[in-house]
Amino acid sequence: MGHTTTQSRSQSGRRRSGRALAGLVLSIGLIGAACGGDDDKKTDTTEGTDTTVADTAAATTVPPPTTAAEEVPVPGGKVVFALEADTSNPWRPSEILCAASCHQVLRNIFDSLTLPNSDGSWSPYLAESVVPNDDFTEWTITARADVTFHDGTDFDGAAIVENLTRAQTGLVTNFALKPIETVTIDPSNPMAAIVSLSSSWAAFPFVLTGQVGYMASPTWLLASDADPLLKPMPVGSGPFVYENYSAGEVFSMTRNDSYWNAPYPYLDAIEFRPIADALSRRDALKNGTVDVIHTTNGATIAEFRESTDVGMTEVANQGETAYTLLHVSQEGSPLNDVRVRCALAYATDEQALIDVIGAGVQQIAFGPFSPTQVGYLENTGFPEAQDMAKAQELIAEYKAENPGPISLALAATTDETNLTVAQFQQEWFQEAGIDTVTIDQIDQGAYVVTAALGNFQVFQFRNHGGFDLDQQYHFWHSSASGAVGSLALNFGRISDATLDALLDENRASDDPVRKKAIAEEVNQLFGTECYNTWGSYTIWAIAHKTSVHGPTGFELADGSTAVFGAGISGVVYPMTFWVEQ
């Protein structure tokens, strides 16, 4: 197949290189819609050394057309897929703290009720239909007929109720489903479940595209309640069946021969191996020990763009933003003051990080929404270039009112690239007038928990991909916040009445024009309040041996195309992979 690249490009000319931040996206089942894209966006499809550019109105990541049209998939074979992190969690949808690598694994075991499609909206997937009442306070989800879980349990209305009830009360997922009041089996149809909400929620099906929409076998869920040792042995209805999991080493699975969505999967087996270090992951692919890797590392992407030995698909649409998360409500913290927060933004030379560390791959970010997301703005009011004098002025102003030294703790993962970024930031923040900046390195497996606990001040992160603003609700709404030491998905503990009102209005609305305006207001609010220090829009690359074909999207029952990498950035469908025999 050669080298295949699918990516969106901005005409603004501000496409820049990027740093590889192995932060985390916590996608509690949120892949959104809307968007519609930008007329200026284009999709590059590169085959071998030839490059063609095709317009795509939707500006979403679609399967490379040449691959689908010209090549006939061959069933069989095995692929070893190297991931950036192990998950080390109980593999139950309502309990797992799931980042991109985790979703990449789970999507093979579990099917979600809905999926994002190439129209920028959602389509039913494992669900036959998802239908609202007039005011979006009640949704009826009907199970697809003749689907069984890997253990032979039938997929029906009861299975949906079991899963959604657990998600509703789950320690991790309950934040995403707060409006749900009850989930019951439809009395008139045992294949359907009725979800009753406390308020209008037009965007509800988007939440079912991800973690809370993953359907696990009720039999396995009950069995693993009784025996926790079964928790790492997931049973779903997906294209692959669990075979073995060794924490930190391998997650292997085999073909589900009776998968309902034939002819998928093509592969007989797939093995996921965590290799945390981005450059080691690259070397493992070059060595041939692994067949596929995913990466956000700029140097790797730049190298493979020029390589004829490696195929690569780039995924940038609806993607995440790499940024520095700030805890903005810790008692006595200088970060409670907007001047200090904006001073950190002025002190940072993000473009230098992108150029020096990221090999010029990623695009600099001035807000949470990447160019193909609803709410993206070129100018958000966020500082667009380093201005150390301004940063020093703001810190001095703060110190005049709050005498005494300022100290900050900066957290990064154990990845070397992230440490380098942290060291740059440390230097800049100190130059701006912060007296002490310490760096804490935390393993990726414990990273999300640390953020959820709120035990941080400044934290490298990656998040906020998706179609709809509603997907960010529990990351920003004050109802999802909590005290330090208690766990919350509003990691930065933002409490802003204006932001809350905008998020609530967006949740209830199904008017695309108004939703776009709301998302833009939110973007500007983040720009002026400097709640986070924005870094770059993440590009994920799926690099693979030339003998491996994929990934691609696939056709959904309603005729639309399932897209990958949207919302849960970088996550593709390995069931579409096939290998030359």
Binding site: S88, P228, A247
Partner: protein, 321 residues
């Protein structure tokens, strides 16, 4: 016999001390039980769930009760499950231990099997060209840290030439011997290089001293062949320092090859311990530390016993004392 008993008593004291310290370590973690609860339950734990975690970990009991309970679990093999993945800790340790053991054995064998002949010949041909080259090379090897050797080997042999797989995916020796040795060849070489240098220099120095002994002169006068003099008469009494060093390295290698395991992504004890620390999998760290400590203490005990086998004079001295 008294000496052996005394060494056993010392060993037991060390084991009790190590297990005591590790068993109560959870009490002194930064962040306290809140962090443990969060790691175990995930976000949103109720007070009842938090209390249950504290109870399960024995943190609601006095330290001595906690110690005896912990020791009882340790001895019975009921080590519990990891915080986050709910997998048995014994499984993780059982999987990691052979990897470190193979790495240690292969590294040691490679280092010893090359260092001994080189050191013997260097000592015999003191100040010859061979001696100068070997001692200078040993100096250079001693100054090469693992984190330089590993990526260089990896780059040339795995990335450029693709002769050796990377990462080193562990395969059982009995399932696929070729894949097994391919997985261990580069990590073993990386470990063996500084070991070789150290062993070679130690043994060479001791051999030079031994070769100047009167019994060697007597053997020569009696017409004993050079090979016999070197390997039968001179080598054994020259191995004190080497045995001590090798024994200390056994313990160190079992848990101390973190850099090598990290580079080659071999999930041995070192990597298990370090990653468990980063993941705040404290019970796993506790058991891994105790296992490593026991191995370390046990190997050193065996080394002490081995002195007597190597040199009968030790037996005699111990008997007299």
């Amino acid at each position: 016999m008294r000496y052996v008993l005394r060494r056993f008593a010392q060993t037991i004291f060390v084991v009790v001390l190590v297990t005591l310290l590790t068993s109560v370590a959870l009490r002194f973690l930064p962040g306290g039980t809140d962090v443990l609860v969060a790691l175990k339950t995930g976000p949103g734990a109720t007070p009842e769930q938090a209390q249950q975690v504290v109870k399960d970990l024995g943190l609601d009991k006095p330290w001595y009760t906690q110690y005896f309970s912990w020791m009882s679990n340790f001895l019975s093999g009921d080590w519990g499950t990891t915080f986050q993945s709910n997998q048995p800790i014994t499984t993780a340790v059982k999987r990691a231990l052979p990897i470190s053991a193979y790495l240690m054995v292969y590294g040691q064998l490679l280092a010893l099997s090359t260092a001994i002949p080189v050191a013997v010949w260097s000592a015999y041909r003191q100040n010859s060209r061979f001696d100068r080259v070997s001692t200078t090379s040993a100096f250079a090897m001693l100054s090469l840290p693992n984190y330089i050797v590993a990526p260089v080997l990896m780059y040339f042999l795995s990335v450029q030439r693709k002769w050796i797989p990377f990462p080193s995916i562990y395969t059982s020796l009995f399932d696929d011997p070729v894949a097994h040795f391919k997985a261990f060849v580069l990590p073993s070489v990386t470990i063996a290089i500084p070991l070789f240098a150290g062993y070679m220099r130690l043994l060479r120095a001791d051999m030079i001293g031994t070769l100047q002994s009167e019994f060697i002169t007597t053997a020569r006068a009696k017409g004993v062949s050079t090979a016999n003099i070197l390997f039968r008469h001179a080598l054994r009494p020259s191995m004190f320092s080497l045995v001590t060093s090798a024994a200390v390295n056994v313990g160190a290698l079992m848990g101390g090859v973190v850099i090598v395991e990290q580079f080659f992504i071999l999930n041995g004890m070192g990597r298990l311990t370090v990653e468990s620390i980063f993941r705040r999998e404290y019970p796993t760290v506790q058991y891994a530390v105790v296992v490593l400590a026991l191995i370390y203490v046990g190997v050193n005990l065996i080394a002490d016993m081995a002195y007597a086998w190597i040199d009968p004079r030790v037996r005699a001295r111990r008997a007299l004392s």
